[in-house]
Subunit: 209 residues, 2 copies
């Protein structure tokens, strides 16, 4: 597959969110201008982003919403189901485990792990019980888990990432405030970085996205 | 203050995280090369980013960690305390309310709001009780809240943002999957977008950050 720049991929995921809403509202097509207005960017950017997989917008009619959803789904890789495990059953780990939005998008949380014996065995949602880290490797194999969420303290994150990579996990979402050393893709979600970036915008009155 | 590009601001927040850890370990100085290795980017990028506020790295010695921390603190706007409120006491809202990392970084969660009467009055952490949305405007005024986290369903987010902006909130962290119409800075944290971006990297084997 061609290499699409990461900012474009992020925007595709955001267009997807808008298109889903439009489809639910019974809409059939949308212009690049209307889509651009929904996400507050320039329509030339929308057209450029969608051109990555061959433009099929028609002048005066716009893009076919269902077709566009299908194409973005394939590009993002969300046309198939992904089994997800969560490492660390603290506040963030448990919130992600309970976060139903993820399952709507074809991500199935199949396991949650922790080292704290007071947490192990506790049920988070029906059918989802916190497991001991010692069973991690076997669980990944048996459940074909491909995506892992690291929601451990920073100190534990690298050794967890090493175990995940060795066990065949293909990608990591890292909530721990650390940059990992590993050879599989990682998306970082450091909540404190969002707070700091926001207040910089506030103090500098720098509103650009 | 000069306009610093958003990707640079994000990297500054990440350098800050590394520098804090180095300071705790008793380090005095660091080279741009070592800092670059910690966050897996080029050292020329680190030098360029730090040049925004006047370079004070010294050849062969590097950057003074304490001084750099102070400078980044001022640029990001985290040298002062920010009072934060959370709107929506669902999984994500409650996880953020309990997330101690934020308070370490000078963000104080002072209030949590919901419209669900079964939740109102419930204590989340000692001293932090879920309040009724009807008291939002008065609370913001009395507690000098400046930052708000929107953790409501997408349908409610825009009307909440309107109320926040009118009440003097200066910046929003939005976990709801929607692009807001407002005149104050917003940082978007759509968890599902991170999952989708990750699996795109997995399917395309596109490892670049």
């Amino acid at each position: 597959m061609s290499r699409i720049p990461k900012p474009t991929v992020r925007r595709l995921a955001i267009y997807y969110r808008c298109l889903e809403r439009l489809e639910q509202q019974g809409e059939d097509s949308i212009s690049s201008k209307a889509l651009a207005q929904m996400v507050h960017i320039k329509d030339s950017q929308v057209r450029k982003d969608l051109s990555y997989f061959g433009s099929f917008g028609r002048r005066g009619i716009g893009y076919d919403i269902r077709r566009l959803l299908g194409e973005i789904q394939k590009i993002l890789g969300i046309h198939k189901r992904w089994n997800v495990i969560i490492i660390g059953a603290g506040n963030i780990g448990q919130a992600i485990a309970r976060f139903k939005q993820i399952e709507k998008h074809n991500f199935q949380i199949v396991g949650v792990f922790d080292t704290d014996h007071r947490k192990i065995g506790k049920q988070i949602t029906p059918g989802l019980v916190i497991s001991d880290m010692s069973s991690l490797e076997e669980f990944i194999r048996q459940n074909q888990a491909e995506i892992a969420v690291i929601a451990t303290p920073a100190e534990a994150a690298q050794s967890v990432a090493d175990r995940l990579e060795k066990s065949g996990i293909k990608g990591i979402i890292c909530f721990a405030p650390i940059t990992l050393n590993c050879n599989i893709p990682v998306e970082y979600v450091d909540i404190t970085v969002f707070f700091k970036t926001l207040v910089h915008s506030v103090v500098s009155q720098n509103y650009n996205i």
